[in-house]
Structure formats: structure tokens, C-alpha cells
Symmetry: C2
Subunit: 361 residues, 2 copies
């Protein structure tokens, strides 16, 4: 019996209304946008009531399905996780997490300090039985829609066992969140014949192949495979994943600017852009990073979704959607089922050590 | 006194005419294109004379400044480096490298098997005094022109000392090849407050800051900084560099396809493209990956440039240009000067071990 079992999808989502650069406005606006697309949603807002109430009164639909839990403290974006853990036990972030643990909410969404959020969520939720390290999993656009990648930065170094766990969890995520029936899972590596990458990667691949969990494992993939639509789940350590994610984001932005320069280079090209605009608008919609906002802290015994610190309302609505899908698809239960099939041994002991040290440096 | 000193820029460049998917045609065509832009060039072609001669007869300018050294063997793209090292001592690749060592050529360019090329060049040239590991350094487009990145795949794991050496060499490269007066050098890392990346990265940063070599060191940079024009030289290990390079390439290609789809989505957008075409053509020229072809095996006591296996004539001409600049700017002498200032200790002993094992797995 896990904490997950006792939570119904009818429970509200807990929202850290004070996290991120545009809080609380973006949080209220995001809730309104998400609600407009899914009338089943309900919310628990954790934040300063004096700031929240006027915003929510302008969104009567949100008001109708929400409660405010007044909080006076908040985690600063500059707080070290260790400091936030000790000091901010009454913060909007911490209380939103506690609400999930206590069965008053189905999942938590925050745009606040990533390190503090991970440290608190890990302390409160603990990891799923058999998982030693939670990871951050996010989505990026690719040729056929979306690709999921983990870890995006929670674990700088990973063992073969960690990567194997990531593959199991990523597989469950792609089915639950991306709606893939038989997701293709690959391990990020470098392809040169002469150098076949780190030993852990080869060992992780061997573990996946030998696993009793049926998985559409395609083996190693390379950086250029992230966007090409051949892979649905990219498994990597948090250092490499973070570099790859940010390189892809930076390259996309650079290319956007190049296209913009090309379009505005002459009066003719500007005129041409007017004619081609519907196509470009569609492209912009497809690639809009806000559509891909909402990274799950996967491997925890509770649904926690990290929204980008700079998220606006539209982006925050995407993060709410990820949280709702994770809850309604009972994703963590699916992961537990797969871990049971895989026969993963329990990491309780090592968890106890991890928790006390987690992200405290 | 190094091998470099005895080589004048008037010496020809040695070309492996049998390496790569489009050899020998792309090699001859590349030489013709490079020569058209720089009349000082001279070439030594290593390859099958029967295949080369008819191609060269169609390029009388190339014929006039070149010699053919007939070879019967070649390194296959599928050969393991260890196999190529033992077997292919009479190959076009190996003989082209030997020509540089023997003072008959100023540098070598090959589109052949990367692992074999690195292993042979390392064995023949040895590393520069004070350098333990050569790296692969290449160029990518960024906001202000080009950015150099190393290592792109020669060394999967790197010590702080290796990264420090890469920074020194990258600094010299950016001045010699990219023409930067005071290049900004950064170490690729992940930025999250809670996780500050590998210990080696912090130690490498400390070494650079404490170095007697004056360098415009900007500290850590992230994946999204590769293209943003704030950094001229990105220092990283070969695993991360390879992932970042291929992620950027894949994302660029993906974005191209998105733009193409946007442009061809309707009759109006197609018409718009006709009007905007000059701008897009300029963009395509700016970002053409062939412009960035030619990765230097840096840290060797001899100029060796690796061209992409799929390089066509235009791409191969870029690699020739890199070789010529490295030679004419006396880049390796500059690196040696900096290493002397830095007081790098000699790695002769560890080199001896490295060489015998290099890329043999």
C-alpha cells in the first residue's frame, strides 16, 4: 500500500502560488487556462491570501473550484536547498507538498527553486520502493511530437542501476504522459567506433536487455537522435541531460533568430513573410517551449511537477496538465508494478542516507 | 626544437585522397576550391593514381601545384583503430601522416576513419611537450560567427589537468583559426544552484584562474551559451562535447525541416518564400555545416585535420583552409609558448603508456 493508493484523482492539485518569477499572477492565470480545457480540475492554492484573492476574484471559474491556504513564508530562488529545508517548513512550497502527503491533494506543481523543491519533495514523499534516486523528466519537441528525456539535472553521476531505473520510469512516463503505446527507449551515448562511451552505459544497456520488464529498447542513441523522432524516451545522467536540453534550447533560439533575420533582411522578404505567416505561426505554436513546460520529479512516492521559474500562465497550465495526467493515469502505480516485475530490491537503507544529505552542498 | 619548426608554410599539405564517403572526387574538388581562394596552396595527394589522375587532369590548376604519391592500401571506415594501426602502415592515411613527420608536408587532412586517424597521428606525431592527451576541436556557428569547442570525442573522461590543457589549446586555436584577439573561454557545466557539476570542472576552473597564462576566462557556461555569442571557446570532456555537438546539429536540422514545412504549407506561403528567398539563402550560407568542416586533432606535434566522413568538395575545402591557417599561423608553436609560460610538466612517461593503448578498444 502506497500513499498513491489513497489519493483519488478527484482530489485537488496543490499549487505553490508563490514560486517563480511571475507568481502569483502566472499561477492563477495558468489554473484558469488549464481549467478551461479540463473542467474536472480543482485547486488548492498555497500563498499570500492578500495577493491571491484579488487575482482569483477576476477568475470566477477558478474561484469556484479552489481553496486558498494562506501562507506567509516562501522559498527564495537563491536559497540553497539545505537552507530551504531547514527554514522554510511553513513556506507555500513545503505546505503544498505536505498537502499531497497528507492526502488533501493529488499532486503538487511549483515554479519555485528547483533544488529546494526536489529536496523537500524527496524528504516528504520518499522514493518509490526499489528506486534509489529520483530523476527529473521533461519533454522536448521532435519530428513526431514529443520526446521525453531523463535525468535533466537531479543526479550529476549515475550508476548503471540508476540508468536502468530511469529507463523503467521513462517507459511508464511515455505511456502515461505522452500517450505512447510502446515507446522506443534509448540510452544517450557517443557513436564513434573507437570510443564507446562510459562503462556504466554499456552495463545499463545489458541490464535493460536482461530485464523481465518488456521494453522497446533501441539501444544507444546520439545527440542528433533527440529530435529525429526515432526515440520516445532518452535515458542519460543528469549532467549530460542538462547539457543536451540546454544545447537544444539554445540552438532552437539561435535558429529562430536566424530565421527572423532572414525574414526582415529586405522589404521583399518582409512582404514574403506576410504571405507565409500562417505557416510560421503554426510552426511557432508547435515549438512553443511553453507547451513543454512541466518536468516531473519522477521516482518519488507522490506526484511533483516542476514548472520553469520564468513560466507565464500558458506555461504553468502545461505543468498543471502534466500533473493531472500523472495523477489520472496512476503513473506511480504503473511504475511500482514494473519495479515489482523487475524485482528491484529495496533501497530503504541507502535512501535514509541519501535523504539527509540530498542536495545540501 | 619541434617538428613544427622545420616546416615552412611553403610545404604542400598532405591529403588522404582515399578517406571518406566521396573519395577521391571530393578531395580533388575540395583542393580545387581551396586553391581558387588561396593561390599559395600546394598539395601531396596520397591515393590510387589510376583513380586520381583522370580527376586531376580535369583540374589543371590543382595538377600544376600537386604531386600524387601512389598508394594501394586504404583504411576502411569500419576498421578498428587498433587494426588500422597494425595493418595499414602503407595506407593513404598513414603515408600522408608520415609525410608531415618527415618534413615533406606541412599538415595532413583526411575524411577517413576518425579513430584510426587519431591513433595513427598520435603514434607518429606524439603529443606536444607538456600535453598528455590530444583533443578534437571543431567550430560551430553562433550569433557572432563561430565558436570553437573541444574535446569533441577523443577523451571520454577528462581530468582537471586535461581540461586546463584544453583551455590553453582552445585559446590558441581561437586566435589562430577564428581570428579572435582575446577569445572568451568557458567551461561547459550545468547551472542549477543545487548541483554544481563534476568536481573536475571546479578544479579546472581554479587552475585556469591561477594560471600564469593570461586568458579571458569567463568561468562556467551552459548548453544554451554555445550558440549565443558570449563564448568563443567551449571547454568540455569528449563525451559531453560530442553529445552537445550532435544535439546542436540535430536541433538545427529539425528546425530547418520545421521552417521548410512552414514555407510549403500553403500556396501563399510558397509565394512568400519566393519573395523572402534571398534572405533564406543568406541564412543557409551562414549556417551551412560545410563551412564548419575540419576538426583539428589538437595537442599533437604536427597539424592533422579531420574532415567529416561525408564531406563533399566544398566541405573538404573548409578542412584544407583550417589546415592552412593552423600551419601559417604557427599555431602549435604558439601553444608550446603558452605551455612554457604555464610551466606544464612533461608527460612523456604517461604518453608512452597512452600511445600503446590509445583507442585500441
Amino acid at each position: 500500500m502506497t500513499a498513491e493508493d489513497s489519493r483519488a484523482t478527484a482530489l485537488p492539485l496543490a499549487l505553490d502560488a508563490m514560486g517563480g518569477d511571475h507568481a502569483p499572477g502566472a499561477v492563477v492565470n495558468g489554473a484558469a487556462r488549464a481549467l478551461a480545457k479540463n473542467a474536472d480540475l480543482r485547486f488548492l492554492f498555497f500563498g499570500d491570501e492578500a495577493a491571491l484573492l484579488p487575482l482569483m476574484q477576476r477568475e470566477p471559474d477558478v474561484m469556484r473550484v479552489s481553496e486558498i491556504v494562506h501562507t506567509t513564508e516562501k522559498v527564495a530562488s537563491t536559497d540553497l536547498p539545505s537552507v530551504a529545508l531547514r527554514k522554510a517548513t511553513k513556506s507555500s512550497m513545503r505546505l503544498a507538498i505536505d498537502a499531497v502527503k497528507e492526502g488533501r491533494a493529488s499532486g503538487v506543481v511549483s515554479s519555485g527553486n528547483t533544488g529546494a523543491f526536489m529536496a523537500m519533495a524527496k524528504l516528504v514523499f520518499r522514493t518509490l520502493p526499489g528506486i534509489s534516486r529520483p530523476a527529473i523528466i521533461g519533454m522536448m519537441p521532435n519530428k513526431h511530437g514529443d520526446v521525453a528525456m531523463l535525468d535533466l539535472g537531479a543526479n550529476v553521476q549515475c550508476s548503471a542501476r540508476d540508468l536502468y531505473d530511469f529507463a523503467l520510469m521513462g517507459n511508464a512516463y511515455a505511456r502515461a504522459i505522452l500517450g505512447r503505446k510502446n515507446p522506443a527507449v534509448g540510452i544517450l551515448n557517443i557513436g564513434s567506433e573507437e570510443i564507446k562511451g562510459h562503462e556504466e552505459l554499456r552495463e545499463a544497456a545489458a541490464r535493460i536487455k536482461a530485464s523481465p520488464v518488456k521494453m522497446n529498447f533501441i539501444g544507444f542513441c546520439e545527440g542528433n537522435d533527440i529530435c529525429n523522432g526515432q526515440v520516445d524516451v532518452i535515458v542519460t545522467d543528469g549532467f549530460t541531460g542538462n547539457i543536451a536540453l540546454k544545447t537544444a534550447e539554445g540552438t532552437s533560439h539561435f535558429m529562430y533568430m536566424q530565421v527572423k533575420n532572414a525574414i526582415t533582411s529586405s522589404i521583399f522578404s518582409k512582404l514574403g513573410y506576410v504571405l507565409a505567416r500562417p505557416g510560421f505561426k503554426q510552426m511557432k505554436r508547435t515549438l512553443d517551449p511553453r507547451r513543454f513546460n512541466g518536468a516531473m520529479l519522477i521516482g518519488l512516492n507522490g506526484v511533483a511537477i516542476k514548472s520553469h521559474g520564468g513560466a507565464d500562465g500558458k506555461a504553468f497550465a502545461s505543468a498543471i496538465r502534466v500533473a493531472h495526467r500523472a495523477v489520472s493515469s496512476k503513473m506511480n502505480e504503473r511504475i511500482i508494478e514494473e519495479l515489482t516485475i523487475a524485482g528491484n530490491q529495496d533501497y530503504e537503507e541507502s535512501n535514509a542516507n541519501h535523504d539527509s544529505l540530498a542536495h545540501s552542498s
